[in-house]
Amino acid sequence: MNGMLIVAQKEIRQILKSRNVLASAIIFVIVFGGFSSLSTLTSEGGGGPLDQLVFTLVPVLGIFMGYLFSSQAFLREKQGGIVETLLCSPLSLREIWMGKVIGVTVPAYGLTLLAAALILGLANSLSQMTLLPSLPLIAHLFTTVPLFIAATVGLLGFAQLLLGLRENQILNFAIIFALIFLLTMSQALFGSGFTISWVVVGSSLAIAILLLIATSWLTRFLDKERIVITIP
């Protein structure tokens, strides 16, 4: 347990120190967050569209952050071969994986909340009336979003540890496309008129929890031999 937290702490520290990655994350947030809140304002209808926007866009941003940071924590270590030394430490493979997942999720979630605040703040300051997020949306931000990020990071970390370099490059590529797709989808979604109710939030929370359970079930397939053999 303790070892896991040590790993998590190190990952957080390392992510906060890598300026390149942080910069691209922040640029991404500003461009898409800012852009989206601008476009909501051009459409009419007040709080409804904003809620929808935050509901869909924020998890996507979170997933993007998780993706950016997890390649730091998992892929980079594998490319360099450092992971082999880590596997020789007294931690179990599951502890290492968990530690890294926590270490990536915390800063990714932090930045995501920042992005949500930015979108809401910008929308508020630019429109004449006060646009407050609804209660279900707030619940969504504090429960579903971190779970989604953790599940994504867990899955990505799992794949990055076990796959070879080339497969990982393909995976990376697929993810970039999936993200662009998700972004377009989330933009498209807020045009249609559905509202963010407790039911919607609850069901997305259920999905997140299921995903997380599936992810932790996958960890039984973690295997040191697979990792070592696929080190380039």
Binding site: N2, G3, I6, V7, K10, R13, Q14, K17, S18, G80, G81, I82, E84, T85, L86, L87, C88, S89, P90, L91, S92, K224, E225, V228, I229
Partner: protein, 310 residues
């Protein structure tokens, strides 16, 4: 109980036999040199010992257990692989601190400082490791590997890429640890001159099986007749000297090595008649030294023989 015990170890990768029935053991306090050409299976053996790869059959025990199912046992083992296990984006101190805590070192702070000093990095302790030279990183890697005072140290090419100064440092450290603290050391190495100086025992691996496993002295003693290396005052006379020597009954073979002559004596023959004979013929001798075979010669001989029989 042996610190390392390998019994009938086999490993296949995609139907290809990489290790074929390995047997050896390393005792407490020994410095064990694991030699062999690239691709002989050294890294695979090391990884199986570390519990990173599975054995196809046989066992590889460390402290009587397999590290593969005993993660906590790793606390007694220090490892320096080809990769130093050091994060470029953290400082030297942060790196050591991380590992000290991973290995649950009792007084991490004091230990980190001590290790920084050992690696000669106290002044650069807070600089990012990315700015270090290859030699500094290797030293830091070594400091990292011994930060928890392991009982067994496994090293993969510990001095590769190091300059002569750092090589001496590492060599002295290995000797000190094994001498004073009875640490057991297992090292893969290509640097035979170094292995000769630090290792008490060696094994030579070739195509996945062990061709020789003994102390360096024993290997040397078993590797042929005594030899004498001569250096003449006047190199012009080398050819005459070769002629003369090859006729003597106590000489079984003569070879020319640049300006030197290498004479292989028949067993039990003294060297003095040879010198006397040369002086009588007015061939000045500048140097006459008995040479024992270097580990390099022994190694090349063993590998060549294995290649021939394969």
């Amino acid at each position: 109980m042996s610190v390392i015990e390998v019994r009938d170890l086999n490993r296949t990768f995609d139907g290809k036999k990489v290790l074929r029935g390995l047997n050896f053991s390393v005792e407490k306090g020994e410095v064990f040199g694991f030699l062999g050409p690239n691709g002989a299976g050294k890294t695979t053996t090391l990884r199986i010992l570390l519990g990173l790869l599975r054995a196809s059959s046989g066992e590889a025990l460390v402290f009587g257990a397999s590290l593969a199912n005993q993660d906590r046992l790793r606390r007694r083992v220090g490892v320096l692989l080809e990769n130093n296990g050091i994060y470029d984006r953290l400082s030297a101190r942060e790196n050591l601190d991380y590992y000290a805590r991973l290995y649950a070192v009792e007084e991490p702070r004091a230990q980190v400082e001590e290790m920084l000093e050992f690696a000669g990095l106290t002044e650069r302790a807070d600089d990012l490791v990315g700015t270090f030279s290859a030699g500094m990183k290797r030293k830091l890697g070594l400091a990292r590997a011994i930060i928890h005072d392991p009982e067994l140290l496994l090293l993969d090419e510990p001095t590769s890429g190091l300059d002569p100064e750092a090589q001496v440092l590492v060599r002295d450290l290995i000797l000190r640890l094994s001498g004073q603290e009875a640490m057991t050391v297992f090292m893969n190495s290509h640097h035979l001159a170094e292995v000769e100086r630090v290792c008490s025992k060696v094994a030579i691996l070739h195509h996945g099986s062990i061709q020789a496993f003994d102390t360096v002295e024993h290997l040397r003693a078993g590797s042929g007749m005594p030899r004498l290396s001569l250096s003449l005052a006047d190199p012009e006379k080398t050819a005459t000297a070769l002629d003369l020597l090859s006729q003597l009954p106590s000489v079984s073979r003569t070879e020319r090595e640049g300006n030197r002559i290498l004479v292989t004596l028949t067993r039990g023959s003294p060297a003095s008649p040879i010198l006397t004979r040369l002086i009588q013929e007015d061939i000045g001798v500048e140097e006459a030294t008995k040479v024992s075979r270097s580990l390099e010669e022994i190694y090349l001989g063993v590998v060549q023989e294995a290649e021939g029989s394969a």
